[in-house]
Symmetry: C2
Subunit: 392 residues, 2 copies
């Protein structure tokens, strides 16, 4: 579903982000300048230590999670094993070994960081299976979403359905979902059962979010409300990040309040990410996003800034509605520029940036509620900033 940990490479994500809490200048917007100009330059920017901490956490996560993840995949019947290993980048389509590009492991890293923040190294060690389960569920959604969205590329290789067909990609997704819940249900740790129930419930939410997302594509722009898009983004992107953190808390033996706070923390991280991603989808620098300028506008995507603009009741909203009512004509750069300006004049950009800053403030609140000790909270904070700090 959310693709921030899968499609981009680490170096693409190392640059500092907009907007962030405290960086009020970023949220003012309305200058018409490309988003990138407001950002610090690429590379080891303003806070190298934090970026490095997240990268180190992700690397450690892969080292802990990959052996168990691979063992779980190797336990599958041959046909499904082959598709799964291909999807994770560990095998080529012909079954030969591949170097592997199984994604950044943000979600398993959140599981382990949450467990460690509340229960130290022992909890982190106990939570590795839960981290594997969350990663399996994430990949179940990717396999099915790629079929449903007809996406042909994932992690720099052809998607599973393009190689093995729809049927096998659907079955492989089903298999990963069942495997994930089996791992938790089999876990002798007292958190295993509650974690399985919570992850299964999260899958129900993920599916509802994906339904809303595809459904909204077929509706007229004025038939979509801002609350609906926010709820969809929370279900599709926030829910699994929240669940990852909650599972880590469960494995640390945390109480319901801490579990809920960490769930909220992850959800707000997901929403902040989505808001920023949507801003970049309109005003991002094509050279850095790798997509044509205003790609989301050309696709008439009902992203958060667009729906905020459309529902603003302004004159620019009416203009935007008219522009969005007509299909995009290939190469019409002027039309895209007018559309972007209409979103901006209707307040869509300002709203999205302020909302992202607000979500990041809530991220901090939830984190402080769950993990009062700033040192213990460091890993989770670093991961939150890593997810929301991107330039492409």
């Amino acid at each position: 579903m959310a693709e921030f940990m899968t499609e981009t490479t680490q170096s693409e994500q190392r640059s500092p982000a907009v907007p962030r809490p405290g960086a009020a200048g970023d949220a003012r917007g309305g200058t018409g300048r490309p988003e990138q100009e407001q950002r610090a330059p690429d590379g080891d920017g303003t806070e190298p230590a934090e970026g490095q901490e997240a990268l180190a956490l992700l690397e450690r996560t892969r080292a802990l999670v990959d052996p168990e993840l691979r063992a779980a995949l190797e336990s599958l019947p041959g046909s499904m094993r082959r598709i799964a290993l291909y999807h994770f980048g560990w095998q080529n389509a012909d079954g030969t070994s591949a170097a592997g590009n199984a994604g950044k492991a943000i979600r398993p890293a959140l599981v382990l960081a949450a467990a460690e923040a509340l229960g130290g190294p022992a909890a982190r060690a106990a939570a590795v299976g839960a981290a594997v389960a969350v990663e399996l569920v994430h990949n179940f959604t990717l396999l099915h979403d790629d079929v449903m969205d007809r996406d042909t590329s994932r992690r720099h290789q052809p998607t599973a359905w393009t190689v093995f067909g729809d049927t096998d990609a659907i079955l492989a997704g089903d298999t990963l979902l069942a495997l994930a819940l089996r791992l938790l249900a089999e876990d002798a740790h007292p958190a295993g059962g509650p974690a399985a129930a919570r992850l299964a419930n999260c899958v129900v939410e993920l599916c509802a979010g994906e339904h809303t997302d595809t459904d909204m594509e077929h509706r007229a722009p004025d038939e979509v409300t801002l609350d609906e898009v926010l709820a969809m983004a929370e279900a599709k992107t926030g829910a699994l990040l929240g669940c990852a953190c909650a599972l880590g808390a469960l494995y640390a033996g945390a109480g319901p309040e801490e579990v809920a706070a960490l769930d909220g923390f992850g959800r707000q991280v997901g929403l902040a990410f989505q808001l920023i991603d949507d801003v970049i989808g309109i005003w991002g620098d094509p050279e850095r996003t790798g997509k044509p300028a205003g790609a989301d506008l050309a696709a008439r995507k009902k992203s958060l800034p667009v729906v905020a603009a459309l529902t603003s009741g302004t004159e620019a909203a009416a203009e935007l509605a008219e522009l969005y009512g007509k299909p995009y004509v290939a190469g019409d750069a002027e039309g895209i520029a007018r559309t972007a300006l209409a979103v901006e004049r209707a307040g869509g950009r300002d709203w999205a940036q302020a909302e992202a800053a607000d979500r990041m403030a809530r991220v901090m609140q939830e984190l402080a509620r769950a993990v009062p000790d700033p040192e213990a909270a460091g890993g989770l904070l670093a991961l939150a900033e890593f997810v929301t700090r991107r330039s492409s």
Copy 2:
């Protein structure tokens, strides 16, 4: 996957079956007479009491399971709830109420019968949630299989994907799977966790079976072995019946041996059913099956009797391979008759009937191993006979 409890109506299934253990005459075959002529007539045939017992068990199962099943579906987010209620026949496509035709509930009946056989009424009451979970998993497979097989009709109504589209049918299937495993993981009963793990593992097997089934369709007849088709039938049809019985045993607090024996019982019931179903698919009376004569042969289906024939090394096997190598020409009744005769002359029909009788013998053995008291085993036996006793 297996459709014996969903597509046919109760009255269609009340007639006595072939082949059954002890009914050696059925297994001799080779007479060329239509299968139906060897059977007892329709209606309340040779053993009315047993058929009645199974029907009473199924009715009681629906009464126990449906309220919890509906409550579970009602707990889903609106979009998925709507598709699920439609699929179960409780709502029309427009969201209005419908009388409902949620299938025969064979699998939940097996859960409850197994629990009662080993643990009495208390175990049966405790196992209702597990019965719901098994029914949800069965319906998850139906939703996805209908998408993958492009089947347009299910339980006398258009399939979900034809009404709501592929995406929503896939998502609704995912949702039912997650819901099923959530119900078990949330269950405070000590069997909840082991049952969730076992059911999740069964889903992995179901998916592998479905993969093999669709994969075999694309292979040449001489590239399919009999062991492969038997393994596929066990995975696709036997695994969930076995799991249903095993879950009932778990909720009765049974030990590993009894659980394994009941799993084996259910698997052998599934295989016996599949063998009989495949015989009917070739030699069944069109007036009673509702399908054209030899429909499976026209579709060049690699059913168990056909593969047994093809791999028999006989002269008729070579003839059959040649006939199967060419596509069916619509209306070629003579070609179908020749093909059916080739399967029979190559021993495919004899083999399938003997094999079905052998499976039914194993059904009895496994049942006696798990439930030595014949009176306690009565419900499970009645259900096994109900499943394998059909005429269409």
